[in-house]
């Protein structure tokens, strides 16, 4: 199904309006799979999940399923989890260690880089003119790269390098990925659950919706702190955005960490403050576990301080699988890692006292977008567009006050640019858009 809607006409960045059909239209969803998910760099795994040769995890890239494997040479390969013979799914496990991947249907066997290594009665194939085993491997991703422990891949050979794709966002990512010389790791395990929502609602929530917390999460804040989330000093809060990525943050250093409910977590960050300042500078040391949320375009969101990193996996226009991991510093004391492990269940997970209310909002906003009248409506995303400023130290487009729609609108502008471009070369340069404002 191809949408007859022009993606650019759905996003009015100048006046701050968004057409609600982006949350429900099946044609737009199909186009997203091609122009967003088969094109952008997508998060696959953390290096620490697959330390040894043959270690693998499976992941989605759009609606394609891939196996992500540690190769013999220490690198990482990712290839489609669908047999090159009759298309059967090859690996049914979510993670593990394998010497090879053997298809259940006819027994074709594939190596750790997806290459076809053999099959039953191979002499029949060898005697078949035109059959070339070397061309029958599993389809590999076009590009795969790591950034400070996080592995990303894209299906588009024309996509810019991961470094270019991230751009200045790397300055921000280093706050969570490089605040300690030992680097980071994922705690073992992944929390996965189904939310019947459009994937963009959680993405926009994480990219910049600090405004919802005081209302949506009042009950959780009351339970943890004995008081609501008070409107804080907003002049020291910011939105920063580039290439559709965004980070909404305060400079309170431990705001998110405090909401984990574990004193030992805030104590850890306080004890690290001067070391982090020496490593990343004073400004970034104030962001390391602060009241903040972020989204790396398109569907990789995280909460610094809560340490939860997640993928908004689209399964349909109104269907998503949420996958959530906990990222910690390798050098973090075991008790702090343990506290984070417990906090993962307690805060941002289906049973989390915060997230159980978010997922309700995302489902109900999705569901309520399908009516004839609601489909004709536009939603206002103009809050804070007038607060842009040149900040001497913060890279990207920066807006003061994180009760703002600025990052969300930048996310949707990037979405519209990608959705309306035939190929990467036609995607509007974000810098052009910046200059035009």
């Amino acid at each position: 199904m191809t949408s007859t809607l022009d993606p650019r006409s759905l996003i009015d960045a100048d006046e701050g309006w968004i057409d609600r059909r982006i949350f429900s239209d099946p044609g737009l969803y199909e186009l997203e799979l091609e122009r967003i998910f088969a094109r952008c760099w997508l998060f696959l795994a953390h290096e620490s999940q697959i330390p040894k040769t043959g270690d693998f995890v499976t992941a989605y890239m759009g609606r394609d399923h891939v196996i992500v494997v540690r190769k013999k040479d220490g690198g990482v390969a990712a290839f489609i989890n669908s047999c090159s013979h009759r298309g059967n799914r090859i690996c049914g496990a979510s993670q593990g260690n394998a010497r090879q991947f053997v298809c259940n249907y006819h027994g074709w066997a594939f190596g750790l880089e997806g290459e076809l290594v053999g099959m039953p009665q191979k002499e029949l194939y060898e005697a078949t003119p035109g059959f070339d085993k070397s061309r029958m491997g599993l389809t590999r991703v076009a590009q795969i790269e790591s950034y400070n422990g996080l592995i990303f891949a894209t299906f588009d050979p024309e996509a810019p390098s991961l470094d270019d794709y991230l751009g200045d966002y790397r300055w921000y990512l280093d706050i969570v990925l490089d605040n300690d010389e030992g680097g980071t790791e994922f705690l073992d395990g992944c929390i996965k659950y189904d939310v019947a929502c459009n994937w963009k609602l959680p993405a926009e929530n994480f990219v910049g919706d600090s405004y919802h917390a005081q209302w949506t999460h009042n009950s959780a804040a009351m339970a943890i702190f004995g008081r609501g989330i008070s409107p804080r000093k907003l002049e020291n809060t910011f939105h920063a955005t580039m290439n559709g990525h965004g980070w909404g943050f305060g400079l309170d250093m431990i705001g998110n960490a405090a909401a984990s409910g574990h004193r030992i977590v805030t104590d850890y960050w306080r004890s690290r403050e001067s070391a982090i300042a020496a490593r990343l500078g004073k400004l970034r040391s104030k962001m390391v576990a602060s009241s903040s949320s972020a989204n790396l375009f398109p569907n990789f969101g995280f909460l610094p301080g809560h340490a939860c990193f997640r993928v908004w996996q689209p399964m349909g226009p109104a269907s998503m699988e949420l996958r959530s991991w906990i990222l910690v510093n390798r050098n973090m004391p075991a008790e702090v890692k343990d506290a984070y492990r417990q906090a993962a269940a307690f805060t941002f997970s289906p049973g989390g006292v915060f997230e159980m209310d978010d997922s309700e909002n995302w489902e109900n906003a999705t569901r309520a977008s399908t009516g004839v009248v609601t489909r004709r409506q536009r939603l206002y995303y103009g809050l804070g567009h007038n607060t842009r400023e040149d900040h001497p130290d913060l890279p990207g487009r920066v807006y003061r006050n994180f009760f703002s729609d600025a990052n969300q609108m930048a996310f949707y502008s990037r979405w519209a640019d990608l959705m309306s471009a035939e190929r990467w070369a036609d995607v509007a340069e974000p810098s052009e858009r910046d200059a035009a404002e």
Partner: protein, 183 residues
């Protein structure tokens, strides 16, 4: 990565406990379930010991033979709570701004397959049970979750109290938008 169940692994318990104790444990589990069905969470908290551990691990989807339900205490969980965090959860759910509870969540716990065994400590019992949990929210949302529980119940002056609960479900990806309930 394997289950850390402490039970007799499917074999009938070597020293069967007295049937009156089995009935007593059943009554405890049934009335506990009735409190949860009614969302009477403060009264439910009173049935827990101070050192309670309430744990619902993520069940892994991995290759190989052996016990089918795979989980481990050093991996992420859906619940991993002590009394302090359970109290906070109850405070959250009973706050008037707990939006998931207004309109209220409707739930029913069907508790079955109760087996009782002596536990390591003389004043404790191990109770196995199976639950079917159904939840209705709003006009037409319904979520059903089926699983096993392995409980440690302690005899106290106030009667039986729950000291440990392990909840083992069959889903790897949880097919529900949230878990605003206890099992």
């Amino acid at each position: 990565m394997s289950g850390t169940s402490t039970s007799s692994g499917g074999r009938p318990a070597s020293e069967p406990v007295d049937w009156t104790v089995v009935l007593e444990v059943q009554q405890f589990l049934f009335s506990e379930a009735r409190l949860l069905d009614a969302c009477r969470y403060q009264e439910w908290l009173a049935l827990l010991t101070d050192d309670v551990h309430y744990w619902m691990p993520v069940i892994e989807n991995t290759l190989g033979r052996g016990a089918p339900h795979r989980f481990s205490p050093d991996r992420l969980a859906f619940f991993d709570d002590n009394l302090k965090s359970l109290r906070r959860r109850v405070d959250k759910l009973t706050n008037r701004t707990a939006w998931t509870e207004n309109p209220p969540t409707r739930q029913c716990h069907v508790i079955s397959n109760v087996e009782v065994e002596p536990a390591e400590r003389g004043d404790e019992l191990t109770a196995h049970s199976v639950f079917v949990h159904n939840r209705g929210m709003g006009e037409r949302d319904e979520f059903t979750l089926v699983g096993r529980r392995e409980d440690v119940l302690r005899r106290t002056e106030e009667g039986l109290r729950l000291a440990k609960r392990l909840v083992i479900i069959d889903q790897h990806v949880l097919l529900a938008r949230n878990l605003n309930v206890f099992f």
